[in-house]
Structure formats: C-alpha cells, structure tokens
Symmetry: C2
Subunit: 202 residues, 2 copies
Amino acid sequence: MTKTLERREKLRVELIQAAEQMIASRGLAGLKTRDLAREIGCANGAVYNLVTDVDELVLRVGSRTLHRLDEALSAAESAGEPSPQETLVRIAIAYCDFAAENLELWRALFEHRMAANKILPDWSVNDQLQLFRHIYHPLALLFPKRSQEELSITARSLFSAVHGMVALGLEQKLVAVPLPALRKEIAGLVRAMIDGLVARAG
Amino acid sequence: MTKTLERREKLRVELIQAAEQMIASRGLAGLKTRDLAREIGCANGAVYNLVTDVDELVLRVGSRTLHRLDEALSAAESAGEPSPQETLVRIAIAYCDFAAENLELWRALFEHRMAANKILPDWSVNDQLQLFRHIYHPLALLFPKRSQEELSITARSLFSAVHGMVALGLEQKLVAVPLPALRKEIAGLVRAMIDGLVARAG
DNA sequence: AATATTTATTGAACGATGTTCAAGATTCCT
DNA sequence: AGGAATCTTGAACATCGTTCAATAAATATT
C-alpha cells in the first residue's frame, strides 16, 4: 500500500515538473499527455492515475507559477526606497520582468480556459487572490482615508492596468516592443496613475 | 466559371458569418469545421475550398470584430463634449461596453494564437493598427509638444492599460466584477492617468 | 511460504478534430 | 453533345484527451 502511494507521489511531482518544463518550452498548446508519459516513464493512461485531468495539471503548474510570481513581487516590494510610489513602480516592473522571463508559463495563467461546467478548485482561487496584497499595502499608505473595500478595488484596477501593458507589450502578434522600452513606459504610466489618483483624492 | 465563383463567394461569406455566430455563442474553442459545414450546407472538406485554414477563418472573423469595434470607438469619439480628457474617457468606456456585449468575439481577438511559423497576413495587421488612432487624436491635443513617435507610445500604453482592466474585469475565472462598477473604475483610472500625464508633462 | 484477494498499471481502443486527396459530379468550351 | 477542365465530396489520416478491460503488482490470509 505505502509502496504504491510513495511511487505515485513521486511520479505526480515529476509529472507536474515535466508539464511545467513542457509549457515553458512549447507553450500551453504544446502540452501533450503522451509526451509527458514518455518523459516521466509511464504509460499514457497512467497520467490519469496522478491527476484527474489536463485541466488539473495546468492548474497545478499555474499554482507553482503564481507562487514564484508572488516571491518576485515580494522581493521587489522590500528592495529599494520604501516610498509607496516607488514601491508600486518596482512591483510593476517586477511583474513585467517576471512575465518576460517566464513568458509561456505566465501566458498559460491567462490562456487556460476550463470547460464552463467545471468549477475552479479553492486552492487555485486562493493562489490568485494573494497577488493583490502586494499592491494593497503601498496603496493603503498612500490613501489612509480609504476603506478596505475601496483600496481593494483600486489595487485590482492598478494591477489590471499594468497587466494590460505587459500583456500587449509582450505580444509578438503585432509590433514587439523592446523590453527596456516597455519597462520605461510602465514606470512612467504607473507614476502618472499614482500622481493622478493622489491629486484626485485631494 | 462565374457560376462557380459566385457560389464560392456566397458560401465564403456564409462561412465567415457562421463562424462568427459560432464563436459568439460557444467561444473560440467551440468552433468546429464539421459544424460549420453542416451549417452552411456543404461537405466538411469543402471548407478548405473557401478558406485555407481555420486560422484564416478566425482572422477573418477577427477582422469583422475589429471593424465593428472601430465603429463603436468612432461613435464614442465624436459623441459628447469635445474636451480631450472626456473624449478619452468615452472611448475607454466604449471599449469596455463593446467587450462586454461581444464577449466571446472580443476574447477571440486575443486568445487566438497562430502556429509560430505562419505569419500574420498584412490585412490583419493593418486592421489592428487602426485602433490606436482613436486615442492618438485626443492625446495630440493634450500634448502638443510631443512628437508623433512619443504620442504613439503613450497611445499604446493608455490603450493597453484600459484593455487590461477590461480583460481582468470581465474574466469570470475569479471574481466577476459588475459591469457598472467596472465602467466607473475605468473612468476613474483613465481620468487619473490623464491628470498624472498632464501634470508630469507640465 | 504459498495462495488468494485486493489494488494499480498498462496500452489498445474510442470519439473528436483539423486536414488531405482520389474519385465522382459539375461546369465550360468548341 | 461531348470531351476537357474544374470543383465538390466524404472517406481516410494523423493527432488529441480520455476510458477501461486485461495484466501485473502488492497486500492479506492461511
């Protein structure tokens, strides 16, 4: 009994790592169960002993990506001068850099769509909600009068705006923007947004 | 000869309309050649007489979506008070509304990924570049000193930021934001961004 | 230790799907 | 009308994710 469980657990970890590597190198569309099975040395059908779906597999890889992203944002939050404005700029740049360095894994976070009937597992939802807290803290310093609710909304807006710049900026489909130019643009617009928000908050 | 060409042309139009309808109702992933063939009354393989790929089909639907989006933004540009700030706000709201009302078709614009080797046809690229001009004009009024190049970059940044708010705001995956709240947030952040940009340029 | 029972793994098979292509149907030219 | 050129067809192919009866392995029982 324990022999089997140990083997399964080790294989499951290998499977998720192989899937991560495969998405990173070939994109989400390049993830194939048969290739994964060959990679970790088991039968094609055995993948479904380790994971119920490819959906779950993608979600598990996504969880790892989100945690690494979280670490990158945490590092940016504390490194450098502590003024809230500059902290927010560093977080935005860190988000951009992470996306550029983990392009396919980062894309997989947003490209993946589950069948409409299936619902997201709790652990996956929680992973995602954690991200906003990096923006929440500096914002709270900037706007001490605002309620928790208002701050959450502003945090999500700010995050979304930066996300949009990164998403379209890294898109190869149209004109590929050079990374340094993109970083500069992001820093500029984040500063402008904060200035504007502060001015309007009076 | 002309009999055939007429038939083909009519069928091609029907095919693209059927594809548009199918994406709108079932999403990009719900687009199936066999269903399309049944819909327009021809053989499965005949689809490839009208279009070389499903890639091309998606691009043709995308072209129609982009043109409708262009019209919606044009309407927003001229309706209402002519101040550049408020014009930009109207355009942003119009983008949000269009995305909400054409959710799956709008998503298809960004979800679709062609095989890496194939290149985007020119007509598709041109379609996309037209979008920024709506933002370019009001921006030029706000920043008369800036060069064409600088204005283009700012226009793309502003567009991308709004796009990000719409994209994450309409995502069902996480917390679905009520549309009125999203519109309000977008208006607020666009005004803040413009205020900030003007202040920094001053 | 040998055997029976329970459990896990396997890979062939299934149903979809995009795409191709030889054969049959249609159109066109003389 | 008849033959050449062209177009349409749908069966066939390759590739997927997923399932499941059969085989192999691990565990329990005697």
